[in-house]
C-alpha cells in the first residue's frame, strides 16, 4: 500500500468529500445536531489515529462504520431520541388536513413521514436521496448487500406513499 490517509492532503480531501455526508448519516438517526457534529469529529479523529492501516478507498466505509458504532454505543442517548421521534410522528394525526397540500406543509408532512420510517429504511433512503449515494455505496458503508439496499428503498417508497396518501384523504 503506497498511499494511506496519513498524508494530510489526502486526509483533508476525504473530509471535504465525506464530512457533510457523514454528518447527515448521523442526523438521519438523531435530531441532536451537536451529537452529530461530535460524532463526525470522533470518526475523523479515529481515522487519523489509524491512518496507516486505511487506504483512501476504504476511508469512507471506515468512517461510516466508526460513526455508526459510536452512535450505537451512546445507547442511553439514543433511547431519548427515539422517544422524541415517536412523539413527533404521532403529531401527524393532529394536522389540519386543509393545510396539508400546501407546499410548505407537504414538505413538513414528507419530513414527518420519513421520520416515522423504520431506521434502516430511512437511513438508506436519505443517503440515496440527499447524499446522492448509489446502492453500491450505501451497501458498502452500511455493510449490507446491494439487494438489501434495493429492498429498503422499495419499502421506504411504498411506506411513504401510503402514509402521505392517508394524510391527503383525511
Amino acid at each position: 500500500m503506497d498511499q494511506n490517509v496519513c498524508e494530510e492532503s489526502i486526509f483533508s480531501r476525504i473530509y471535504q468529500k465525506w464530512g457533510q455526508a457523514l454528518f447527515n448519516f448521523i442526523r438521519y438517526k438523531t435530531k441532536d445536531v451537536d451529537q452529530a457534529n461530535d460524532l463526525v469529529q470522533e470518526a475523523f479523529i479515529t481515522l487519523w489515529d489509524h491512518c496507516a492501516e486505511v487506504s483512501p478507498e476504504k476511508a469512507k466505509s471506515y468512517l461510516y462504520t466508526v460513526a455508526n458504532r459510536k452512535f450505537l454505543n451512546q445507547v442511553a442517548h439514543l433511547k431519548v431520541v427515539q422517544r422524541h421521534q415517536s412523539e413527533t410522528s404521532t403529531g401527524i394525526h393532529q394536522e389540519n388536513p386543509e393545510f396539508l397540500l400546501e407546499h410548505q406543509e407537504f414538505e413538513n408532512t414528507l419530513q414527518r413521514a420519513i421520520d416515522a420510517l423504520p431506521e434502516g429504511q430511512k437511513t438508506a433512503f436519505l443517503m440515496n436521496r440527499i447524499d446522492q449515494m448509489t446502492y453500491a455505496e450505501i451497501a458498502e458503508v452500511l455493510e449490507i448487500s446491494v439487494k438489501a439496499v434495493e429492498k429498503r428503498m422499495h419499502l421506504a417508497l411504498k411506506t411513504l406513499r401510503t402514509e402521505i396518501q392517508e394524510l391527503k384523504n383525511r
Binding site: 452529530a36 457534529n37 479523529i45 420519513i114 433512503f125
Partner: protein, 316 residues
C-alpha cells in the same frame, strides 16, 4: 410498474428518456416525485469549519507525541555511514529555515521536531549533528540517506556535518549544499539568509546559484538579493542564547520572541502598521522574557502585559 427502471433512476443512472418513461406511469411518477421532494429536504447544522478545527487540533497533538517517541528511537538506532578509510573532519553548519507547517510519518521517514520554547540536538545516521532551535522541524529518509545526505528543514538549525558526500539541506527558498564548511541558513516566510563562517557553501535558489566563501553571507528578501558579512569562525547568536537582528521588521522580531518563549503575542489592530513597518536592529535574550520584551518594546514606546501564555502589547 417498471421496477428495474425505477432502480436505475434511484441509482442516479437514468437518462432523460428513462425518466420520461417513468413519469408516464402514474405509479412510478408518484415515486419519482416523492424521491425528488425528499432530495430537497434539509438536515442542517453541519459545522464544517469547527469540526475541522477540532480534528486538526487532535492531529497536531498526536504529531507532537509521535515525534517525541520517534526522537528516542533515532538516538538508539544510529547507523554509521561510509566508515571508509577517508579521514573524517568535521564541518559545522548552521541552518535556519522556515517553511509551512506540514507533517508526515512513515517507518522509513524520520521527523525531528522542537516545539516552541525548546532547543534540542540529535545525531544523524552519518554522525553529523543537528541542533534544532525552537519551533523547528527536520525530515530525512533513512533508506536513501546512504546514497544521498539530504535533509528537509523547517525552522532553524545548527548542523555539525561529518565530511563525506555532499550534504544538502532542502528548503522552500532553495537548496544549500555543504562543500566542507561552517555555515548558517535562515529562512523566514519571504526571506532567506545564508551565512558562511568557514569553508565554502553552495546556495541554489529558484533563479540563481551562489558560492559563498567564509566571512560572507547573503540575504534574499522578497526576491531582492543583498550581500552580508559575518565574522569568520563565529557562531550564530541563537546558539549562545540570544537572537540578533539587523534592520528586521518589528513583527518578525516579536514572532521570534513568541517562538523562543512559546508564547502568543497580541496587539490591537491600531498597532499593526507600526509593528509591520518599524525596523529593529539589536538582540534579545532567551533567558528572561521580561528583559527580552523590554529590549524590543521600549525603543518604540510600547509597553506589555503578561497573562499566562499571552503577552499583550500596548501603549500607555
Amino acid at each position: 410498474m417498471n421496477q428495474k427502471l425505477l432502480d436505475k433512476f434511484l441509482n442516479h443512472q437514468a437518462s432523460k428518456e428513462d425518466i420520461e418513461s417513468l413519469k408516464s406511469d402514474p405509479e412510478t411518477a408518484e415515486f419519482i416525485s416523492l424521491s425528488e421532494q425528499a432530495a430537497s429536504l434539509k438536515y442542517e447544522g453541519f459545522q464544517a469549519q469547527e469540526n475541522w478545527r477540532m480534528i486538526n487540533k487532535h492531529i497536531s497533538e498526536v504529531s507532537k507525541r509521535n515525534i517525541k517517541t520517534q526522537n528516542k528511537s533515532s538516538f538508539t538506532g544510529l547507523i554509521k555511514l561510509n566508515p571508509s578509510s577517508q579521514v573524517y573532519w568535521r564541518v559545522a553548519a548552521i541552518l535556519i529555515i522556515v517553511i509551512g507547517t506540514y507533517f508526515f510519518l512513515s517507518p522509513n521517514h524520520t521527523t525531528l521536531i522542537t516545539p516552541e520554547g525548546v532547543h534540542q540536538s540529535w545525531t544523524l545516521p552519518d554522525g553529523s549533528e543537528i541542533s534544532l532551535n525552537a519551533g523547528s522541524q527536520a525530515n530525512y529518509e533513512l533508506e536513501s540517506w546512504k546514497n544521498e545526505r539530504v535533509i528537509e528543514l523547517d525552522g532553524e538549525a545548527f548542523f555539525d556535518v561529518t565530511k563525506g558526500s555532499t550534504f544538502s539541506v532542502k528548503t522552500n527558498s532553495g537548496v544549500v549544499s555543504v562543500l566542507g564548511t561552517e555555515f548558517n541558513i535562515k529562512v523566514r516566510e519571504n526571506q532567506f539568509f545564508v551565512h558562511c563562517f568557514e569553508g565554502l557553501v553552495k546556495v541554489q535558489t529558484q533563479d540563481t546559484t551562489l558560492m559563498l566563501p567564509a566571512g560572507s553571507g547573503m540575504k534574499l528578501d522578497d526576491g531582492l538579493l543583498t550581500q552580508e558579512l559575518v565574522t569568520i569562525g563565529a557562531k550564530p547568536d541563537w546558539i549562545n542564547g540570544e537572537s540578533s537582528f539587523h534592520n528586521t521588521s518589528l513583527m518578525e522580531v516579536l514572532n521570534e520572541i513568541g517562538r523562543q518563549y512559546a508564547i502568543n503575542i497580541r496587539y490591537s489592530a491600531e498597532f499593526t502598521s507600526l509593528v509591520e513597518t518599524s525596523m529593529f536592529s539589536g538582540s534579545f535574550t532567551h533567558n528572561d522574557l521580561n528583559i527580552a520584551l523590554k529590549s524590543v518594546c521600549q525603543p518604540y514606546g510600547l509597553n506589555f502585559e503578561r497573562l499566562g501564555n499571552e503577552v499583550r502589547i500596548f501603549r500607555d
